[in-house]
């Protein structure tokens, strides 16, 4: 069994973000960068499935040299090897999905595990795009994964309840928060990760023609809401809601 997991490098979810003077980027200098939390869950799930069924976990990240840190972190958790597709270009979701599909074609994993969304751009697109590009079944927002023979059965979080799908492998699964609790890397894990193979590839060497079709023109802070009022007691709250706001 081989599982390919994607890991995106993103700003820490607790970081205070500011907009670059260019107006269409956030300032990343001095911001702590982490692996997308949903991708950590994907790594954890891959490790658990491999512990149970045998095989290897390969981690893929697309971006600058700095992404090595997130790949090594996944290796410290236990992933066996890594691939970094190096680029400083702005890649939109369509391009990212083409790169992932290309690596999928080379690696031929049984399962591609990804995050349901990246917490920076929040696009919620890439996993589904890769699945369609490769004509594979998908289960997004996975809450539980069980493998049996050539089928992966996934309980996923749909609107109004939990849906169960069985996917013929190979397939694409994207993770939701409740799938698992990612483990911490142990010190020996961190030491071992330094020696694990990490294949660095230039984006240009993949032979893809990537034309950007989505451009981020502008970033804005949402308008500041006026600070609210602290009320002295419940009685005052009830009269505000009834007489001023007329919502009860």
């Amino acid at each position: 069994m081989k599982i390919l997991v994607t890991v995106k490098r993103v700003p820490d979810y607790a970081a205070k973000l500011t907009i670059d003077p260019s107006g269409n980027k956030i300032k990343t200098e001095g911001v702590n960068m982490i692996a997308n939390p949903f991708d950590e869950i994907a790594v954890e799930e891959a490790l658990r499935l491999i512990e149970k069924h045998g095989g290897e976990t390969c981690v893929l990240s697309i971006g600058t040299d700095d992404c090595t840190a997130q790949i090594r972190a996944a290796m410290a958790m236990g992933a066996d090897r890594g691939i970094l597709v190096k680029t400083t270009e702005s890649l939109d979701c369509v391009s990212i999905s083409k790169v992932i599909a290309k690596i999928f074609g080379e690696e031929k994993p049984d399962i591609l595990l990804m995050g349901k969304q990246a917490i920076d751009d929040d696009s919620h697109q890439v996993g589904q795009m890769v699945a369609e590009r490769l004509n594979l079944g998908q289960a997004t927002q996975a809450n539980k994964v069980v493998l049996e023979g050539e089928w992966a059965t996934v309980i996923r979080e749909a609107d109004g309840g939990l849906e169960t799908l069985s996917l013929k492998m190979p397939c694409v699964i994207t993770t939701d928060l409740r799938l698992n609790e990612p483990r911490y890397a142990s010190l020996p894990g961190i030491m071992k990760a330094k020696k694990k193979p990490l294949d660095e590839r230039e984006l240009s060497s993949l032979g893809l023609s990537l034309t950007p079709s989505v451009t981020l023109q502008k970033l804005e802070m949402p308008p500041n809401k006026q600070a609210g009022q602290i009320l002295p007691d419940v009685q005052t709250l009830v009269s505000k809601l009834r007489d001023v706001e007329k919502v009860i």
């Binding site: 699945a131 079944g137 939990l162 013929k168 079709s213 989505v214 451009t215 981020l216 970033l219």
Partner: protein, 315 residues
Amino acid sequence: MSATHLIVAEYDSTHLKNATLSAVTAAQKIEGTVHGLVLGKNVKHIADAFAKHVSQVHYAEHDGLEHRVAQPYAKVIADVAKSIGATHIWAAATAAGKDMMPRVATRLDAAMASDISDVVDTKTYKRPMWAGGLTGTVALSTSIQVITVRPTEFVQAAANASGNVSNFAADPGPSTTRFVGFEEVKSERPELADASVVISGGRGLKGPEGFKQLIEPLADQLNAAIGASRAVCDAGWVPNDWQVGQTGKVVAPKLYIAIGISGAIQHVAGMKGSKVTVAINKDPEAPIFQVADYGLVGDAFTIVPELIERLKALA
């Protein structure tokens, strides 16, 4: 050139969902003709209902479309989009919309904008990014575009049309996905996404008993839906389905009451659109007070029972 819109309908067994009507409103911001698409089994009544809002409804009934599985749905949606020459294909950014629309985009070589909060022009949209901390303006350069719409940011389209309803033969194609089952979270309360009042609880409620003791009676009193922070969903105090936030549900009720919730940006991302927000928290420094219209500082275990009593006295 005028646009041709295709709106993918979402429905439950009896009703077209309100979220779909918000997607219609978003599409109407771009001049053009608006078509609706209804796929499933026994959906003629949904198609008829949709025809009150758009000029043309296409519907198909097929065993392979009985359940909303992304793989077959995406093929049929893309087929219809091509056959009518659609330039803009829309759906609500619900779990289902998020699941299938990126596949539609890929089939059509289209760029996609997710979860938009505004339409700027025929190819430019605004969307929340970074947990709603920033709003991005994105431009799509492909001739066909796929867009999912944040329902809480658009009013629901009025029923002022009398569109044609036409049936077509869908071909969902082969699928490597098998639908096994759906376990509905049953509730007597209004749905989170549609409720006009939402009462949400957080870790300040101390445990599932806190929800029973405080949140449920308050929700009963106000006919409210119940929401929760991620922390308490993760802890298993309440169902996952209740999570409000960046990675949970986005709600926009008339009244949102956050009880024992700190107000992390990821939670606030899901409740920003609420008209009036109330926070009850014992920590005067809690960030939730910066986004709430009204705040009460104190112990929820004394404030909420008093609130329930006073509301009962009003009723």
